[in-house]
Amino acid sequence: MIQLFRLFKKFGDHTALHDVNMHVAKGEFVFITGPSGAGKTTLLKLISGSEKPSSGSILVNDIDLNRIGGVRLDLFRRKIGYVFQDFKLLPNRTVFENVSIVLEIMNLPFSVIKSKTCQILNSVGLKEKAHLSPLALSGGEQQRVAIARAIVKEPLILLADEPTGNLDSDLTRRIMVLFRDVHQRGATVVVATHSRELLDNNDFRTIVLNKERI
């Protein structure tokens, strides 16, 4: 499903990833961990196609990400749910609109968009705040909006960058239930975290990134 081969990523003189090789099977749940600055976020960005590698290849679902662009890249991104570390919510839209936009992009009928969005907001405990701006929410609530947006489209691959960083233990458990649910429906899940709690309480393969290497 996800194959990284001899992957290098540099930002100017700074090397973010050095000769990374990795394989994640279809339907697998994987944690990527490592200290801050190890390259976890960069790795997820490369897998999602939002960054291009300096060298090496990335195959995701048999698609060579070095070779796609334009509409094909847009369509590829629709199959991926991405929980960004900085949430990347749209401040000019409501919580409901922040989640529903991914379904609008997929050109689904409004009735489907409405029911799916309400359902997912209920799952993350934000149904009552659907009409609010994300700016009116706490950090933890914003993170849940970001998670809802990533999973509402039932992605083939779910990439989550520190998805529980701002959440308490109870909410962390609830989010992990959602992730397991997505996983059980057949999605491949890659979670970048340095949360010990998350790693200790879940029995999935863990890939450790250290000093830009696996």
Binding site: S50, F76, I80, E104, I105
Partner: protein, 300 residues
């Protein structure tokens, strides 16, 4: 099927307009100003055309007959003239009457004419042509008739003063050319204003566009609200300019213009085809301007 994407376009565009009222207001104002200039020119053109039509509805012509024309030939000329569309013979002036008319016109000097051994003046027909709303084209038809009459057996000469008609044609052509030039300048100006307005809005929403691209939006999905917005600016500018032009028309229509103390000129407003043209051009410029602006900023 009502899809979320359609509602997204309208919602987003209206939200952009609501949140950037000042920028949009300036763009619509500039569009109105530009189209008022173009519209005033159209108004002038249409009114000139209407006045030309009303003046050009009646023409008179003198058909001189050859000396010694037989009655048969004269009857043929007579029936040819009567068969022409809109033609009416107002008077037949025989050779004798022509001489008598000349004598009365000369008064005491007419004794000079007594020395003539024969009457040199030709018999003639005074013909009046009346056209219904054909205006400038009617004038052109009359010139053709003049040529055909001149070739008729028994006709010596046809007199018809078409100098002013000859001048009218280049005037209208120059007006049309000026219309193209003014139209081109105005359209470029409107395109520039709308393009820059959309650019400003795109700059303000750069982050939002990036996020949309990251979650799988196609370029077209991102562009659509901006293009719709451009169309709204264009349409608002077009409608606004028509309102301003109509107000100008009401003010001027109340005043009658008198020429030589005899002819009264009535003002006309833009015909429907001009109104549609202005609206369609304004919307098309809005769409084109925003399309160009977004194409430069929205891509993978």
């Amino acid at each position: 099927m009502a899809t979320g994407a359609h509602s997204h376009v309208i919602k987003q565009a209206l939200s952009h307009i609501r949140k950037n009222r000042f920028v949009h207001g300036v763009a619509v104002g500039a569009t109105i100003g530009a189209f008022v200039i173009l519209g005033l020119f159209f108004l002038l053109f249409c009114n000139l055309n209407a006045w030309m039509k009303s003046w050009g509805n009646t023409f008179s012509m003198t058909v001189y007959l050859q000396d010694g024309i037989s009655d048969f030939k004269r009857d043929k000329v007579d029936s040819f003239i009567r068969g022409l569309p809109g033609a009416e013979i107002s008077e037949y002036i025989s050779k004798k009457q022509a001489l008598s008319d000349l004598k009365s016109a000369l008064g005491q000097e007419s004794v000079l004419l007594d020395r003539l051994s024969r009457n040199p003046l030709p018999a003639s027909y005074e013909v009046i042509f009346e056209g219904e709303g054909e205006g400038h084209d009617f004038g052109k038809k009359i010139i053709e008739i003049e040529a055909n009459l001149g070739k008729l057996d028994g006709v010596e000469e046809v007199q018809f003063n078409h100098e002013w008609l000859n001048r009218l044609d280049p005037l209208m052509k120059n007006m049309a050319l000026a219309g193209f030039v003014i139209g081109g300048v105005v359209c470029s100006g409107v395109l520039f204003v709308i393009m820059n307005t959309i650019k400003l809005i795109i700059y303000a929403r750069k982050e939002e566009i990036e996020i949309q691209k990251l979650i799988g939006a196609t370029d077209w999905f991102v562009k659509k609200p901006f293009v719709f917005e451009g169309a709204v600016i264009g349409a608002a500018g077009g409608i606004g300019s028509l309102v301003v032009l109509f107000l100008c028309y009401i003010i001027f229509a109340a005043k009658k213009i008198h020429l030589f103390g005899i002819v009264t000129l009535d003002f006309v407003f833009l015909p429907m085809e001009y109104i549609f043209f202005l609206l369609i051009v304004s919307i098309a410029l809005g769409v084109t301007g925003s399309f160009i602006a977004t194409s430069r900023f929205v891509s993978n």
